[in-house]
Symmetry: C2
Subunit: 205 residues, 2 copies
Amino acid sequence: MEFSSKLLEQAVNEMSQLPGIGKRTALRLVLHLLRQPKGQTMALSNALQNMRNEVKFCKSCHNISDNEFCEICASHSRNTEIVCVVEDIRDVMAIENTSSFKGLYHVLGGKISPMDGIGPHDLNIDSLVKKVKEGKVKELIFALSSTMEGDTTNFYIFKQIQSYNVVTSTIARGISVGDELEYADEITLGRSIINRIPFEASLKL
Amino acid sequence: MEFSSKLLEQAVNEMSQLPGIGKRTALRLVLHLLRQPKGQTMALSNALQNMRNEVKFCKSCHNISDNEFCEICASHSRNTEIVCVVEDIRDVMAIENTSSFKGLYHVLGGKISPMDGIGPHDLNIDSLVKKVKEGKVKELIFALSSTMEGDTTNFYIFKQIQSYNVVTSTIARGISVGDELEYADEITLGRSIINRIPFEASLKL
């Protein structure tokens, strides 16, 4: 791509570093900013700089936070004995939106993935194991995505904590609400039959 | 969407102002920046600010430029008597990539579109008409997209300049190279038959 302006070229190059944004999309976004009032570009770049410079991670659960401890960890109305282990902060937001969990979270910051060069020590696993060792946690819920990397990570953590007095569970796998059986994959359908729940219990959900 | 950090929320809100970027995509992009070294966020925001503050538009053709006149208008090897009228600078880049045009461009900055509140006076039409009036232009090639708005804009400009001594043409519409006839729309296929060219001439392309 030949640009008539070095400034434009630099902006497009930087924008196209973002995941899923190619050169063409980057050009479209940058030209959009050029057409809008200057204030919009300034607000965007200031917001990004402020966030990158000032944002903190909660010292307890590694969630993104403006303070030393995030709102969830600092809250007095949460059950601190149940910890839900998730991959990143988007999962915290997703689970919080369901309003069905009142415990705390622990954000790993990724999954063990040798193919991508991510080992256990690149993740926030040590601090989780420490919490368990200190006897602060009664139940650990694994809520990682159901992939090989997710399963590996679950198993790695499980091995580290199995000798301590803690209940471990994993979120249920099954047919999504509203989905038709015939389109479900075999593994999911099989698991949903093996892990069936009493009908009367399902009426109360 | 509930955010655990105001700084994160602001960054996501600003990012989601960009066209085609929703809140979820914005969050993904912003979290990616958080995972990368600080330098990347700084480089992106500086490049955007520099571009928005410093970029100029060529005084002659309204193309984006770092100088008063863009490289194409300032070049001595271009034919200044043929002007190709395009919608925005992406079209200039696209035509330049074909290496098949050695004249100058004129960037309108959009199309006449009453539905979007864009009238002739929001576009760089007056300066184009002035160039024609001054007798600097021998041929005008309309290269706007083939939509109702594009056709309206072509016709509006044509009306303004038809009394002057200038040849006007429009880029050829037809079946794309490599496309199969059966999937072409009727209007395009019809035009490609009406505007057929001598077979011997096509061999030389």
